[in-house]
Structure formats: structure tokens, C-alpha cells
Amino acid sequence: MPRAVLLAVLLSWPAGLYAQAPQNATLRQALQAYDALDFAQAGALARRALTERMSGSDQARTYELLGFTYSATDSQAKAVDAFKQAILLDPDRQLDANKVSPKITSLFYSALGQVLVVRQLQVDSARFVAGQGAVPLRFTVTSPARVRVRAISGPTTLLIDSTVVTGAVSVRWLAQLPGGGPVPAGQWLIVVEATAGQNVFSASRAVRVTYGAVDTLPHLTSLPGYKELPETEVPPQSWRPLGLALLFATGTAAATFALNNGGLGSTPGRELAGVSVATLAAGLVMTLRKPAPRPAAGNILYNRLLREQLTQRNADLANENLKRRQQVALTVVPLPRAGAPR
């Protein structure tokens, strides 16, 4: 084996293999042999480990080790077969393209394209009003296949989607019964089944559906962005009061002079002067005095309109809340995986 290939294999050793110590002793020896670059010994030990009783996880790691070993010894067909077995045992298995050599990665993806599996089934947590939202489901189908997505809870089976696809798939589960009502609360199993000819593969994910009350909207005390304006305003100071007093006093004086009968002598002025002075003094005081606030008609109308709008909005909110109290909020949470998919 060329030295460069050996170096690449060493550098590409998957960290996942060291992440957890395998339970099977033979597999552990095989991994140690691989570490020592004794690929023949590593391959032999791995093959022997497969004849022993071991967990599914150890089995997948053994096949993966075989894939690496065959890749190092240029047995590409065997490497692909070993990777295929590893993928079938653990469809979500991934190679880190930054750490694994392109040669091994290409062999792994070659194996991936030759098997039918549903990978990386993910169900996102979701909370929505029944009938107004959906639960996002995502998964990857490695080969073209008829994919049926179902939700199962006890005797109830709901078909979510059925289509022929390959690659990354997104599906939305409305969490509704055929009649339109929300699915019953409880534990549901999302099953994705891919069928291509005789090949059938399924993956599943458990979720819990719970009911909750739909949040009601709070009543508004003010319209956002709008505030009431002062309903009174202080008018600017003016000379109008004094002017009016002057006008009235001089008008009365002029009329008195005009009305006076000349035959009776000059116009009596003391009485008029006294009252006129009092009137002018009142006018002057009112001119100098700070004007009293007066109603601001425009602001009053604006505030009235604002209050009407607020009342209307609160009435709309009350109606909306009435509807919401009759609705159900669904919370869908994926449960931890119980075991590897088959």
C-alpha cells in the first residue's frame, strides 16, 4: 500500500469509533489492530466479531470498520458492501467529510446510493391551533421509492402523505382526523415507509400530542401608536377683551351723544364715564389675564374617534377570544428515540 494512502487512512479515522468503547471484545481488538495499521489483522478480527453475538450498534461499527479496512487495502467492492451493511443497520450513520478521506467518503456514498433507507427522520416541535398549523416532518430517501408517511396511535392510522420521491423530503402533518377535528391527545408514531419493488424500509419517530387552551388576546387600553390629545387648549393672549370693552363703551357714548336732546343742555357724562371706566378696566384685566382653557373641538373629535376605534377593536378582540376559547392548541413534541430503526 502506498505510504500516502496509509497516511490518509490514518488521518481519516472516524472519531465516532472512539466515542464509545464497543461492548464486544473482538471488535475492540480489531479497532486496536486498525490503530496499529495492521489492516489484515483488523479485517480478520472484524470478520470474526461478526460471527459472535453483539448489539446492533456494535454490528454497525464492525461493518464500518470493515469498510475502512477494505478501503485501505483497495478492496473497493467489499468496502462498499461493508458500508451498505453498516447503513442498513444504522441508516443515520454519517461520515465527517472534513475528517474522512475523499476516497472512503466516496465509497460510503456509493454504498448509500445502492441501498433503500429512510434517513434522518426529524419531527420538529410545534404548537399551533388545530386546523391552523402543521407539524414539519423531514427525512431523506436514498433511492427513488414510493414513500408513505403515516401517523399511528393505537387502532388509529392516518395517512399523511404518499408519493414517489428521492432525496430530502419535507412533509407537513396537519394533525387532523379525516373529519377535520384535531387528532386525539396522546402518543403517536410517525412512520415513514419507503417501497421500491421488493425493497421495503421504514423509519419511525414517536411524538406526544397534548391539548392546551388557545391563548386569548388581552383587551386594549389604548391603540398602539396613538394617544389621546388634550381636550382643552389655552388660547393665545389677545387684546380682544379690551377692544370689545372699548368698542362697547365708545359705542354707548356715541349713541348717548347722538340721542341727547340739545334743548336740555349738554349730555350727562358722569354716569356714563363711571360705568365705561369699569368696563374698560374689566377689559384690560381680561386682556392681561392668562386666558382660560377652552375646548379643543378638533382634539375632542379625534379622541372620540380614537375611543370608538378602541371600542371596536376590543369588540373584535372579544369576538376573537370567544372563537379561541372554543379552539384547541396542539403541542407536538418528539419523544427520545427508543432504539435504532429497522
Binding site: A255, R270, L272, S276, T279
Partner: protein, 216 residues
């Protein structure tokens, strides 16, 4: 009780039966200063005396009343020698057609203590009053009345009889008011004593009142 008494009692009773917000009234003392002239410039009197004014408003209708008793003394330049006491009674019934304009009817009566010193006169008045608000609690008004159907103690009539008025109302508080008002009356009396030729005997009176009033 005469018919005027019954009418006043009926008005008070009607007012008492309506909500307080729709009615308001004032009453208070005042001091009147006046000048009276008759026949010629040489017959001139001037005097000061106490009086009472009051008003009552019911929705847009207001009744104003004023009473004064003034001792009229001849002025220094007057040829008159005798003083007399003049009793002045004035009343107005006004309908406030607009915020600043009211139409009114009423009566005026002036009685002279001495029939020989001055004429007593009574007349019906018809006119209008314009009122403007100067500021918070202060208002000024202007009045013009025609004095119709004037009757004189010495006989005669007056085709031209008018009254002019200027007033100031100040509202110190909801219960205390002050008022100043001026009125000028001109009556062109014509008479024909003993069936002779018609003689012109004009009468003029200027009167100023200043007083306080209690609101209720």
C-alpha cells in the same frame, strides 16, 4: 294679593319645580346715581340712592328687575328749588335667541314724590340686548329699548322714547357677582295744556348702578 303678586308666585313656583341646573338667579343691593332733566337745560336734578337688582334665568329666558329710590336734588346751575324722591322700577323679560343676542320686553316706571317737581312716567319697553364675554366670569352688554306707550302724570305723549344701556357683569364666584350698568332714557314728551298749542317738554334721565349680588 293682586294679580302681579299671583303672577310672581306662579313664576317662583314653576321655577322651583325644575332641576337646579336649568335655572339660576341673583339678587343684591346696589347704589344708583342719576341725573334727571326736564323741559329745559335749566331744570336739572342729580342724586344718589340705594336700590335692589335681581335676575332669574330659566333655560333661555331671563327676567331682570331693578328698583331704586334716588333723592334728586337740583344742581347748582338749575333753576329748580324743590328736591324730590324718584322711585324707579324696571323689568325686562328676555329671550336669549343667540349666545350673544337676546330680545326683550318689559316695563319702566318712574314715580316722583312731588308731582310738581317732576313727571311720573310709565312705559312698555321692547328691544334687544347684545352680550359678549370678555373672559372667564366677565361679560359686557349693550342694550337698546324702545319705550312704547309712555304715560305721564302731567299728560301728553311721546312718539320718540328710547333707552340706551351699557352693562358689565362680573362673576367672582358661583355665588358672588358684581355688576355695573348705565342707562340713558330720552322721552320727547309733547303736551297741549288746556287744549292750546302743542308744547314740547322733553325728558332725559341718565342712571348708573353699581352693586353686588348673591347667586343661587
Amino acid at each position: 294679593m293682586n294679580r302681579w303678586g299671583w303672577a310672581l308666585a306662579g313664576l317662583c313656583g314653576a321655577a322651583w319645580s325644575v332641576p337646579a341646573g336649568a335655572q339660576q338667579g341673583t339678587i343684591g343691593p346696589d347704589v344708583g346715581a342719576g341725573e334727571y332733566r326736564e323741559a329745559a337745560s335749566s331744570l336739572r336734578y342729580r342724586g344718589v340712592g340705594p336700590g335692589v337688582t335681581g335676575s332669574f334665568t330659566f333655560h333661555r329666558v331671563t327676567v331682570d328687575g331693578a328698583f331704586a329710590s334716588i333723592r334728586m336734588n337740583p344742581t347748582a346751575a338749575s333753576q329748580a328749588t324743590e328736591s324730590f324722591r324718584a322711585t324707579l322700577i324696571d323689568a325686562w323679560l328676555r329671550w336669549e335667541a343667540l349666545e350673544y343676542l337676546g330680545f326683550e320686553i318689559g316695563l319702566t316706571k318712574r314715580s316722583a314724590e312731588s308731582e310738581f317737581a317732576a313727571q311720573s312716567v310709565g312705559a312698555v319697553r321692547v328691544g334687544a340686548r347684545a352680550r359678549y364675554v370678555l373672559g372667564p366670569g366677565a361679560a359686557v352688554w349693550l342694550r337698546g329699548n324702545y319705550l312704547a306707550g309712555a304715560r305721564f302724570s302731567g299728560g301728553g305723549s311721546s312718539a320718540v322714547a328710547m333707552e340706551l344701556g351699557l352693562g358689565l357683569d362680573i362673576r367672582w364666584s358661583s355665588h358672588v357677582r358684581a355688576a355695573a350698568q348705565y342707562s340713558f332714557q330720552r322721552l320727547d314728551r309733547k303736551t297741549n295744556p288746556a287744549g292750546g298749542a302743542e308744547a314740547s317738554v322733553p325728558i332725559e334721565q341718565a342712571l348708573a348702578r353699581i352693586g353686588l349680588a348673591v347667586g343661587f
